[in-house]
Amino acid sequence: MTLEVGARLPDAEFIEMGANGPETVTLSDLSKDRRIVLFALPGAFTSTCTAAHLPSFMRTEADFRDKGVQDIFCLSVNDPFVMGAWAESTGASKSGIRMICDPGAIFTKAVEMDFTVPSIGLYNRSNRYAVVIDDGEIIAANIDEPNVCDVSTGEKLLEQL
């Protein structure tokens, strides 16, 4: 399926690092009767994701909450241990952004956002995008071209609300 306004996302299982280790969460549980932001990026600890994309949502988190967003999720095709370490080292966990993992890239492939670049060792990763989901339906969708971090930033997504 294509990520576009009006579309309903397929249900998916993600893994989130909980207090007692990795936990499975479903997109339907995360989004049912709620307004959430989901932004996806190629990988924890990669340069643009660490220096620009993730910080843009840390800066705008309070503004999203003012617009009725109940949770902000950062999604990557990484495992929960790596995402947990990244959240800690960037301060994202303290800011309230929840890190969720699509380790088998199942959701990422279902929304046609997967890419592979063997020369840099990235396989089945996610392109950069950000969506606002209201009770399971996409109400804003900003998708970046490969190697660009522009419309999927927190600031640009905020303009859509």
Partner: protein
């Protein structure tokens, strides 16, 4: 599965260099060298981070005094993750080279792949340590999944005259 006396399989390993991540054949690390290679399920996972890697950091000088040219740590992670893990853990300072088996080719070539879906781990490598002399495996210590016993630095060190 790989055995003592066999030659190492072909694989490319990724590492972050001055111009970003790049890959290099494993053979280039092994040719005409004596090499310690240990494999872990994943960067930033509790046992790998809290016990396995530290055991090799502590023993790095002892290995070098026994004529070891390279100490390599591999995991099925990407090069960005391995790079940050090497900085945070102190492995880089200890002279341990942290290499990314990003496509899992080494883990598959060794016959050591396992999955742990509830923890978000797919196509990962079982825990092992080996001594490799001129591309041929001369010691091979493999742990059962979920265990950490056979593959410590001390066990391998004790096998070296």
């Amino acid at each position: 599965m790989i055995e003592v006396g066999q030659r190492m399989p072909e694989a490319a390993l990724w590492r972050v260099g001055p111009n970003g991540p790049g890959r290099k054949p494993l053979k280039e690390y092994l040719t005409e060298k004596r090499v310690v290679l240990f494999g872990v399920p994943g960067a930033f996972t509790p046992t790998c981070d809290g016990a396995h890697l530290p055991s090799f950091i502590q023993a790095a000088d002892a290995f070098r005094s026994k004529g070891v040219d390279h100490i390599l740590c591999v995991a099925v992670n990407d090069a960005h993750v391995m790079f940050r893990w090497s900085e945070i853990s102190g492995a880089e300072k200890a002279g341990i080279e942290m290499l990314a088996d990003s496509d899992g080719a080494l883990a598959r070539g060794l016959g050591l792949v396992y999955n742990n879906p509830t923890a978000g781990m797919f196509g990962r490598s079982r825990r092992f340590a080996m001594l490799i002399d001129h591309c041929t495996v001369t010691e091979f210590n493999l742990d059962e999944v979920g265990q950490y016993q056979a593959s410590t630095a001390d066990v391998l060190l004790g096998q070296m005259p």
